[in-house]
Symmetry: C2
Subunit: 338 residues, 2 copies
Amino acid sequence: MSVKKSTIIDVANLAKVGKTSVSRYLNGDFDALSDSIKERISHAIKTLDYRPNQMARSLKRGSSKLIAFVIPDITNPYSIEVMQGLEKACQDHGYTLLVCNTNKSSEREQYYLQLLVSYNVEGVLFHTIKASANSLKHCPFPMVLIDRRVKNFNADIVGLDNIQSSTIATNYLIDAGFEAILFISEAINGISTRLDRVNTFKKLIRAHKNRVGKVIEITEDSHDPAYQLSLEQHIDDFCKTHRGMRKAIVSINGSVTLNTVLALKRLNLVCGKDIGFLSFDDPQWAAIISDGITSIRQPTYQIGYSAFELLLSRINGSKAPAQELLYSGELIIRNSTK
Amino acid sequence: MSVKKSTIIDVANLAKVGKTSVSRYLNGDFDALSDSIKERISHAIKTLDYRPNQMARSLKRGSSKLIAFVIPDITNPYSIEVMQGLEKACQDHGYTLLVCNTNKSSEREQYYLQLLVSYNVEGVLFHTIKASANSLKHCPFPMVLIDRRVKNFNADIVGLDNIQSSTIATNYLIDAGFEAILFISEAINGISTRLDRVNTFKKLIRAHKNRVGKVIEITEDSHDPAYQLSLEQHIDDFCKTHRGMRKAIVSINGSVTLNTVLALKRLNLVCGKDIGFLSFDDPQWAAIISDGITSIRQPTYQIGYSAFELLLSRINGSKAPAQELLYSGELIIRNSTK
DNA sequence: CTGTTAGCGCATTCAA
DNA sequence: TTGAATGCGCTAACAG
C-alpha cells in the first residue's frame, strides 16, 4: 500500500547521473543524452517504478496538463456524450480531464471556477446556464463554451447549429402535414440554445398561413410534482384547443422528451397516432420508446473533440478572433411522426 | 484573460506582514494571529483576488485534496449515478473529483493508475473489469472498490448485495408463475457481480422442480451487429424450446435491457404479454419502455456517497480490516411481469 | 554531452 | 504573536 514514492533524485543516484539528465530523459530530450546514460536512466526508472510528480512539474513550469469540463448536470446524456469526445481528445494530447458538476447552481459554478484557478488548470470547457460574463472575464485561463453562448462574453463556442436544426425540424413537421404544433421548452432564461430553437420555430410557423404554433416553457425541476402536472395540463389544453387538426409536439431536449412521453401516456395519447412527436436530442432509448421517436441528433462526440482542439490552440497562445464552430443537426425520422 | 496570478508574497507585501502569517491565515490558524493582521490579510486577499496555489500546497505537504473515480464506461448510467453521490461527498469534504474513463481497456486502466500517482491523488474509487490484483497492490494510495471485487485483492468494497437482489428477483418471478426463465448476462469473465447474480439465479431455479432456467452470455460490444443477431437468436431458441410454458427474461443490466427490448420488438414479442421481463438496474426509461419494466433498483447515490466516506477514513489512516458495504436492491414491479 | 544551481508557491520548523 | 529560513520535486538557465 504505502510504498514511499521515489523522486528524481533517487533515479539520478541509482543511475549514477545528475538529476538534470533524468529530467532531460523524462522530457524526451534524448538528443542531449548518451546511449549509456539513457540506458542507465531507463533501467533505474523501471526498478524504482518511478513516476514524475506532476505537482512539482506544474509548480515549476506553470503548466499542469489539466483541463476542466464544467457542466450543469451530469445526468444529462448530452454532456456525457460530449465528455467522451473530450476525454479522447485529452488523452490524445496528454491532458487529463477534471469534471466539475455544478448541479445548475451558480454558486457551485463560482466555487469550481475558483478551485480550477487553484489547480493551475490550463483551460476550461464550459457548459453553463447562468454564468455571467463578469465572473468569467478575469479567469486566468482560456475558455471554450460548449453549446451555449454567454451574453457579453466573447469566447470560442462549439455546438449545434440550432437555427439550422430547428429549421429542418419545423419544416419537416409542416411538410408532413401537421397543422398545430406545440413546442415544449424548459425555462428559456436567456439561454442561447433555447432561444435559437424557439425563435426559429416561431418564425417558420408564422410564415405558414394555415398552421398554428405554440411555445410553452416548463420549470426545470422534473422531480417537482408540479412539473408533471403542468406538463399534462398544457398538452391537454393544447389538444382541446386544436381539436380536429393534425397535432404534433416538439420537445426541446432529451429530458423533456422523457417527461412528455410519460405525460402523453397518462393522457392516453399514442405517439404517432393521436399526436406527432419530434425530439431535440437523440438518446439511446429514442429508438424504442413509443415505437420510435423522430429526433434531431447532434454530433456530440465530435463537438467534444473539436472543443478540446479549439481550447488547445488557445492554450498554445492563439490570438485568433473568437470562433463559432457549429455543427448541423441530423433529422432521424421514426414512427412518432408517421 | 491572462491576469497574472498573485502569490502568497503579493498578499504578504500588500498586507505588510510576513508570508508565514498569510499561510497561517489560509490554514485557519486564527488563534495565532492578531486581529489587526487578520484584517489586513483578509483585505489584501480580496483586493488581489488571491487563490492559494494547490500545486504548491500539494507539493509541500503531500496531500493534493484530489481523489479519482476510475470507471470502465462513462456511458453507463450506473456509474454516473454513483458519481453524483461521490461528487456531493467530495464537495462536502473539500475534495475534488478526477474522473477517469477507461473505456473498458486494461491499458487505459494502467495508464490512469500511473497518472494518478503523478498527481498525488490521495485515494481512488475503482469500478473495474479487468484489473488484476498485482497492478493494484503497489499503488501508493488507498483504494475502495465499487460494485465489483478484484480477485486476490483485499480492499474495501461498496456495492449492491447481489445475492439478495438476485434472490428477490428470481423468487418473485417464480412466485409470479413463470415457468421458464432466461437469464441474459454479459460475458461473465470472472466479474463478481455477474457471478453472484447468475449463480444465485441458477441455485434457486434448481431448487424448484417444475421450473427451468437458462443462462446465456452475450458479448460486450453492443455495436457489433453480431451482438443483436445472437441476442435475437437466443431468445427465439428459448421460446421455441419452451413452447407452452410461461416464459420470462431477466437481463443483467441496463444496457442489456435496452438491447433485449429491441430484440423482442423485432421478434414481435410483447413484454408482459408474450413474455415476462425483469431488469437489473432501473434506468429512468425503465418506467416507460414496453409499458414499464419490472426492475431491481440500486441505491446508487448512496453507494457513491458511502464509498467516499470509506475512502476518506482510509486516507485519514484507518487500519481497520477491509470492509464490505453491501446495499439491498429494491424490486420495482411494473407491467412487464404482469 | 553533463552536472550545478536557482527558484516555482507554499507550509513548517525555529528563533525572536 | 510574528517572521526568516528551509525544502517539497522538478525544470531551466548556465557552466564545464
